[in-house]
Amino acid sequence: MKRIFEVALGILAAIGGFVDIGDIVFNTAAGATFGYGLLWVVVLGVGGIITYSEMCGRVAAVSKQPVFDAVRERLGLATGLVALVAAQIVNLLTLAAEVGGIALTLQLLSGLPYRALILLGVLALAVVIWVLPFGWIERVFGYVGLCLLVFAVAAIKLHPDWGEVAKGFVPHVNTESPLVYGYFAVGLLGAAMTPYEVYFYSSGAVEEGWTPKDLGINKANAIIGYGLGGFLSFALMITAGALFLPLGIEPELLGTVALGAEVPLGQIGLILALVGTLFAVGGAAIDTCFSGAYNLAQFLGWEWGKYRGEARAPRFTLTWLVLLALGFCIVMTGIDPILLTEYSVIFSVVALPFTYIPILLVANDKSHMERYANGRVANTLGLFYLLVILVVSLTAIPLMLLTNMGQG
């Protein structure tokens, strides 16, 4: 019984942890532009993150290798270094975007000046990371992030045309403006399959000392947790499709997104949406900050891990402190966090193959994985998604330039 309870708690944390600023921005913008027409892309993206999270969680449990350990081993030093640099740049951009999102949300809640709130947000993150144990960080942010479920209630209250919603789940292409549609599809896939999620997931599994006994938890967390996380993405897109599209509103501000919950549900809806956003984005900021430190330490062979205590993994600790400071500096320049989010998601798509190829190779290596190596289902899905990722990573930047970031 205790075990089932633990599994359920882990799943809840995964749902809350799925959504970050990239998901919020792209799902809302996609809904406001194409209504429900891109829902099927979210399903595709969620399938991808489930496939690769399950794989790297399994690798972490069986061979105790986190992602950048596998990258160094499989790609070697020189190519691995390219992967590391790409991952670190994308990670830092994502971290900065999340920090900006925290400050924007705090501003909507308090009305205080934006730059002061950036400082407050970053200090709060540093203290939380320093003081709270690993499991607590994941749970507190995951659970409170579940306030975003208010968008599911909002979506229902807005009485969308459910027939149209159902049609959105059927894969199709918009023929009127295929390029903008393609840009949003790429963004949604990137937001769902954000690379930091796999870095964090696999390193977290090693931190928590998973063994092959935990493979059930791994499957449940990946499939149910991320699957239901995708449900939050649907809710955001349906809300935007039902509310913003008919009014012709382009949600360029985070406050507009929260409006999606306020219009049907009033003040309580607004507050739940903002609190949910704050914790979802705050949790993602911590995940990205740690991911950057995990990657560097794993590539160079340093001691790493929150569970070791700050002083026992000193260069790891130093790295996340530096990353947090860099993220702070980027946002303090006054760059628009929403724009930063779009860049971080699109560039992360370009860097995705570097992360996923080594995972697929290690998960297939019988000398490390023995009987837990990939079976036919994992390999079929793995190869399918690798193909999707390759196509998407090659088209991401051309689409961004051709559509002027989705402006048409």
């Binding site: 061979s63 105790k64 350990d69 499989r74 030093l77 320093w130 003081v131 062979g301 700050e310 000193p314």
Partner: protein, 117 residues
């Protein structure tokens, strides 16, 4: 080491994580030292660790850049200290006995000064 008794140096040892006898992560296998000559038996004598070991594996300009940025520090870990080579390479001595993990040692004291660590 695989069950067949063969050891794949390229995928089974090079670029793997080093773990000392106390379970501490202490660097990567950045290069290998081999003994022998063409046509004769080749023997692995040591693992090489540190910037001085990996620098030469990067393409020219990057190797020069790395040479400017990092000290040419290189630690030689005799092959007979290696206990097992699986996903990680496990060593039979502690990192400090072998001269590994010095970077972490240097930063440990400074980080420990921050309250709550």
């Amino acid at each position: 080491m695989s069950t067949s008794g063969e050891l794949d140096l390229a995928y089974g040892v090079l670029d793997h994580q080093l773990v000392d006898s106390e379970g501490r992560r202490c660097g990567k296998v950045d290069d290998l030292e081999l003994e022998g000559k063409a046509g004769a038996e080749l023997r692995i004598t040591a693992l090489l660790v540190g910037p001085g070991a990996w620098r030469g594996r990067l393409p020219g300009p990057f190797a020069r850049l790395a040479g400017r940025l990092f000290a040419r520090k290189l630690v030689r870990v005799p092959w007979d200290v290696v206990e097992s080579a699986e996903a990680a390479v496990h060593l039979g001595k502690t990192a400090s006995e072998l001269g590994l993990g010095r970077g972490d040692d240097r930063w440990r004291k400074r980080i420990a000064r921050i309250p709550g660590s």
